[in-house]
């Protein structure tokens, strides 16, 4: 065996021992052409935090940083046919998607939006549990109903009276948005927000408008979906921290690196997003507690070997302690107890360190 072959085997062996922060996205395209025109299109994915490689309809990705927690991913459809609308959406790709391939769909459609066509679209849809199991159907339902609702809402805003089918259309928009947020972390688009506001506006009227009463859509269901949509961001961050806890149990160092990234992301969120993402600060508190645990563990090891603490770690530790100081007074139960314990541990190491005491 040549030296080159030995080197190759050695490299492969070294690589096999390292965790691979990578995953795969399967893409698909759904085309709804009323004119019977042959249309070809493909899904394009972009994410600044990922190295993406397209292989046929699949995209393989690698995290640019092993401490990456979530990557804002834009999905669009490239199409060279006039008269069609294509789906464009953004989603938060979480680190735990590394474990399995996830499928994303693009939709191309030219559904007409006159009264009769909208009614036909409504009549043809089925949103039972069986059909919604296939994520492709959810993407199709969402993108088609979003497009139709956008056009219908424009005409309604110009003075046209809404029909019961418009209410059902808006319901489909929010229903499918909730499914996509839950299953693919798809961010809510402007049309979904409009549909949600429009439906809630109707529900809050007493009595609700005739078109709503005739649509047969339950006000309670709309309130529930709307609430779930409002909480979708905090639900997503909650899943992130749950998965981070799981990762820390199996791969402590990587889990810690990612927890620190998450803490940085949460700390940098604008006020309105912060409230939506942290669910009354619960996610922030758990992340800060995890980071305190990580850094206390790291500092303990470094203290034993008399290795100085890295400045970056000290900065992060201060950030975690600051968050704990702010959040713990309002916390309760096990979260509070756990947080206080981790804060005390970390404070001990920070106090004993020369650069930790500084500032």
């Amino acid at each position: 065996m040549s030296i080159r072959a030995w080197l190759f085997l050695l490299t492969a062996a070294l690589w096999s021992g390292c965790p691979v922060y990578a995953g795969q996205l399967q893409t698909g395209i759904k085309i709804f052409s009323t004119g019977g025109q042959q249309v070809s299109a493909s899904v394009q994915i972009q994410a600044a935090d990922l190295d993406l490689t397209s292989v046929g309809t699949a995209y393989t990705y690698k995290w640019k940083s092993s401490s990456g927690v979530l990557a804002l991913t834009d999905v669009a459809v490239s199409l060279a046919a006039p008269g069609y609308d294509t789906s464009v959406y953004s989603l938060d790709l979480p680190f735990y998607w590394d474990s399995a391939p996830y499928s994303l769909f693009g939709v191309v459609t030219n559904d007409p939006y006159d009264d009769a066509s909208v009614q036909r679209f409504i009549d043809a849809q089925s949103i039972d549990r069986a059909s919604m199991t296939d994520i492709a159907n959810v993407f199709s339902l969402h993108e088609r109903s979003v497009r139709l609702f956008r056009q219908r809402k424009f005409i309604i805003d110009q003075g046209a009276s809404p029909l019961p089918c418009d209410v059902v259309l808006a319901y489909y928009v929010v229903f499918s948005a909730r499914e996509l947020a839950d299953r693919r972390n798809v961010r809510m688009d402007q049309t979904t927000e409009d549909a949600q506001a429009w439906l809630l506006g109707m529900i809050n009227k007493s009595p609700p408008p005739r078109c709503f009463r005739k649509a047969g859509v339950s006000a309670a269901v709309i309130r529930t979906i709307s609430q779930q949509l409002s909480l979708s961001e905090s639900t997503f961050y909650g899943k992130l921290i749950n998965n981070l806890d799981g990762l820390m149990a199996t791969d402590f160092d990587t889990g810690c690196a990612r927890a620190q990234t998450l803490l940085t992301i949460i700390s940098g969120l604008p006020d309105d997003e912060y409230q939506a993402a942290t669910a009354q600060n619960a996610v922030h508190l758990r992340t800060a507690t995890d980071v305190a645990l990580c850094l206390a563990t790291k500092f303990r090891k470094q203290q034993k070997t008399q290795e100085p603490f890295a400045n970056a770690d000290v900065v992060t530790a201060r950030k975690a302690l600051g968050a704990l100081d702010t959040l713990l007074p309002n916390a309760q139960g096990a979260e509070k107890k756990n947080g206080e314990g981790r804060r005390a541990d970390l404070q001990v190491y920070m106090a004993s360190s020369s650069n930790g005491r500084a500032q």
């Binding site: 006159d114 009264d115 009614q119 046209a160 029909l163 019961p164």
Partner: protein, 167 residues
């Protein structure tokens, strides 16, 4: 043919039925469009069915295809051609006095003219609802508007002819 319309009782009666039936049909179409538009504005439509859409489909038809325009012209010409059946007959010759068919025709034409005017005005005033019905389809909007205008023109012309105001 024109002579048979005067002398042959069967042909004459048949032509009278076709004429009144045709004028009734045109009037009903205008009226149905008006009712559909008003129902939409007043949110009285629970579910859009093929029946809701029938007046729009028929109104679109004459200006939808080349062949359809031709058939629409033929349909418009027939009442003019059979107008002899609207007058009383004396010595096997039509007089200038209107018979019962003539009176019914005038009534349908005048009512139709009024309805047509209101329908065209409503299509303009309730533009958003009209747009929603046809989904912003310009071709359909122009076709429907043209048909309504053409029908109005035909009704006015024919009414004036029957009333002897246009020779």
């Amino acid at each position: 043919m024109n002579q048979r319309l005067v002398t042959d009782p069967f042909v004459r009666r048949l032509a009278q039925y076709i004429l009144v039936g045709g004028l009734c049909g045109i009037f009903l179409l205008q009226f149905a469009f008006l009712v559909l538009l008003a129902s939409r504005k007043l949110e009285l439509i629970d579910e859009v069915s093929s029946w809701n859409q029938l007046p729009l489909t028929i109104l679109k038809f004459p200006f939808d295809t080349d062949f359809a325009s031709f058939s629409a012209i033929i349909v418009g010409v027939i009442p003019i051609a059979v107008s002899a059946v609207c007058y009383k007959i004396s010595n096997d010759q039509p007089t200038e006095a209107l018979n019962r068919t003539g009176h019914v025709s005038v009534f349908l034409l005048v009512t139709g003219t009024m309805t047509g005017l209101v329908a065209i005005a409503a299509a303009g005033l309730l533009k958003s609802d009209f747009e929603a019905m046809i989904g912003g389809n310009d071709t359909a909007r122009i076709a429907i508007r043209n048909t309504l205008s053409a029908v109005l023109g035909f009704q006015t012309f024919y009414a004036l002819q029957l009333l002897g105001m246009k020779k």
